[in-house]
């Protein structure tokens, strides 16, 4: 079985964020890490590989040329090889452009199961998996909190619902997006880190994928960032001070909030 884990390079959650004049997030190579949500994507790919002998895991990323470092970090967790899609014409791609590229890359790689995270920690769009499925004309099982492959033909997932969970299944090849509760990502082992450099890492350009540069990138993007504002971190705390009735007011507040 060919398993492909699609991951994004994002700035580390603790990095200082700033926007350029075109409202694009300034990305510094030093701050780049694999999207934290995608640690679950990679982990799930590795677990499925462990369950299905003879499977291969490919890690796929669309990103700047320097994202090879991020892919090496992903390969330190495991996996057989990585593919980076990188092309100067890709700068400024929106979710649809990204999905178009990933769909073409997945087709070129060939897969039975393509895994995605539920969102990326920088933009929180969460539409790339479904858009990619649409381009491929294949089913997407979204927000999986559990994934079982029966035989080599069907994927079955659980998706958390307000009460209990829903089950959904689809024939392979299929796309699956996973949520954090699906697994506990492993630490890369020392051997994994040392082996990561030796694993094959291919770079595809748009020409390699047979894509027209005008169909992707900033020019084709239909999504546009208009303005941005810092989230106000000032919390509206209420302070009750002194011995005079403070405890009663706290209790009243908790009852009001239906905590008690």
């Amino acid at each position: 079985m060919n398993i492909v884990a699609c991951i994004k390079e994002t700035p580390s959650t603790t990095a200082e964020k700033s926007f350029g004049p075109d409202m694009r997030l300034e990305r510094r190579k030093e701050d780049a890490i694999p999207n934290p949500f995608d640690e679950y994507t990679i982990e799930e790919a590795l677990r499925q590989q462990e369950k299905h002998a003879g499977s291969t895991v490919t890690i796929l990323c669309m990103g700047p040329a320097t994202a090879t470092d991020t892919l090496r970090k992903a390969l330190a967790m495991g996996g057989d090889r990585a593919v980076l899609v990188s092309d100067s014409a890709l700068a400024g791609s929106d979710a649809i452009g990204t999905a178009r590229v990933l769909a073409a890359a997945l087709q070129k790689i060939g897969f039975d199961l393509a895994l995605f995270g539920s969102a990326a920690a920088d933009a929180y769009g969460g539409v790339v998996p479904s858009a990619t499925a649409e381009f491929l004309g294949l089913p997407l099982l979204s927000y999986a909190s559990k994934l079982d492959l029966s035989g080599d033909s069907t994927a079955r997932i659980q998706r958390a619902a307000e009460i209990g969970y829903n089950e959904a299944e689809a024939p392979l090849p299929a796309l699956v997006s996973v949520v954090k509760s699906i697994n506990e990502p492993r630490y890369p082992s020392m051997k994994g880190i040392m082996a990561s450099k030796k694993k094959p890492l291919d770079t595809f350009s748009l020409a390699d994928l047979g894509l027209d540069p005008s169909s992707v990138g900033g020019a084709a993007a239909r999504e546009r960032a208009i303005s941005s504002e810092k989230v106000s971190t000032q919390r509206k705390g209420e302070m009750y001070q002194g011995n005079e009735g403070a405890a009663d007011r706290v209790v009243a507040f908790l009852i009001e909030q239906k905590v008690l």
Partner: protein, 380 residues
């Protein structure tokens, strides 16, 4: 000159930092209080390859370079010095001698399970009468009927008594050399050998979750082949092992110093006196500035000593400088971190009081500060 760490070195640092933050730091207080050896944690580290970092894969190691190992120690030590010393004593003192001097057979028999972290191993040099004067060994071994008969005692031996320990390599006098000096040989003593008695763990002021024991040998017999390397090479071997170990203790000390700085900086930003955070007072800022500067310098010194070793150049003097400067930096950092915490720093609830207790032994183990100064002076 290039100060950039390789991609692997950076990944190892990041992984160990994350591991220490998530798995070690939250338990450090409890481990210290209970003085309990954290088996589950050490097994986890073994599974991740952290107990065999600098050994080739063919011997069960991760195949990382010596600097990577030191950087890993810094990060693990930043989480907790006790866990750090368990890793250091196992790798630098326990496993490295097999790697450097063992026969092919000994490497397969002993090094492989150690590098995989299936077992721990100890190195017994210090004796009641031979501390800084490590050549003053009195433990002796006599070759009779194809076996070494060992008699004597060792003390303060790290990792000697855990349930995972496979054994100890000890220095013993095996005769006299032509020049009148003692002939010292390193002998391999597996746990369970009759006559090898492992004493009760010491009650310690710091490094409390690490295992430290007195050992005694009462007509303890091991096969003739349990010599590490060549007979009579013991002194030369452990001098080199200690050089390497000192770079590693330097790294571990930097980790402790960094942990003290981290706590002090956070606290200084939170603690309010005279209506503002104490971090706004220049007296506190200067302490933090000094700590940050010395930590950076200590780190550079252990990097350089490790680099010299990796280049195959002499590094004895630099190893002593790295160990001495880093341990004294850590001592000052732990002390100032307590000072910045005021009375709270004296209380067990704050990690800085543990750092203050832990740091003392960094100026003693693997050669005291006085011994380091003597080594540096000899190389001037």
């Amino acid at each position: 000159m290039d100060f950039t760490l390789s991609a692997e070195q950076q990944m190892i640092r990041d992984m160990c930092r994350e591991f220490a933050e998530a798995e070690i730091k939250p338990r450090a207080e409890e481990m210290d209080r209970g003085a309990a050896f954290p088996y589950d944690l050490i097994h986890k580290m073994a599974d991740l390859g952290l107990l065999g970092l600098p050994f080739p894969e063919e011997f069960g190691g991760a195949g990382a370079d010596f600097l990577s190992y030191c950087i890993a120690l810094e990060e693990i030590g930043r989480g907790d010095a006790s866990v750090g010393i368990t890793m250091e004593a196992h790798t630098s003192l326990g496993a490295t001698p097999f790697f450097l001097y063992g026969t092919e057979e000994q490497k397969h028999e002993y090094l492989v399970p150690l590098a995989r972290g299936e077992q721990l191993w100890a190195f017994g040099l210090t004796e009641p009468g031979a501390g800084s004067d490590s050549g003053g060994t009195q433990t002796h071994a006599e070759l009779r009927g194809g076996a070494w008969h060992i008699n004597g005692a060792k003390n303060f031996i790290t990792n000697a008594g855990t349930e995972m320990t496979g054994g100890v390599t000890i220095t013993a006098v095996t005769g006299m050399q032509a020049d009148g000096h003692k002939e010292i040989t390193n002998l391999i003593v597996p746990k369970g050998t009759p006559g090898y008695i492992i004493g009760n763990a010491y009650h310690k002021m710091g490094w409390r979750a690490s295992d430290t024991r007195p050992l005694s040998f009462e007509d303890c017999r091991v096969p003739e082949g349990n010599v590490l390397g060549r007979r009579g090479d013991g002194f030369r071997q452990f001098m080199h092992i200690l050089d390497l170990g000192r770079v590693a203790i330097g790294a571990l000390s930097v980790g402790l110093a960094q942990a003290a700085f981290d706590e002090a900086r956070t606290y200084a930003g939170e603690r309010q006196q005279f209506g503002k955070p104490i971090a706004t007072f220049q007296a506190i800022q200067f302490k933090l500035a000094d700590m940050a500067m010395e930590i950076e310098l200590a780190r550079l010194m252990y990097y350089k000593a490790a680099w010299l070793h990796m280049q195959g150049q002499p590094f004895t003097k630099e190893a002593s400088m790295a160990k001495l400067f880093a341990s004294e930096t850590a001592k000052r950092a732990a002390d100032q971190a307590v000072q910045i915490h005021g009375g709270y720093g004296f209380m067990d609830e704050y990690p800085v009081s543990r750092f203050w207790r832990n740091v003392k032994v960094h100026e003693i183990g693997e050669g005291t500060s006085e011994v380091q100064r003597a080594i540096i002076a000899k190389h001037l």
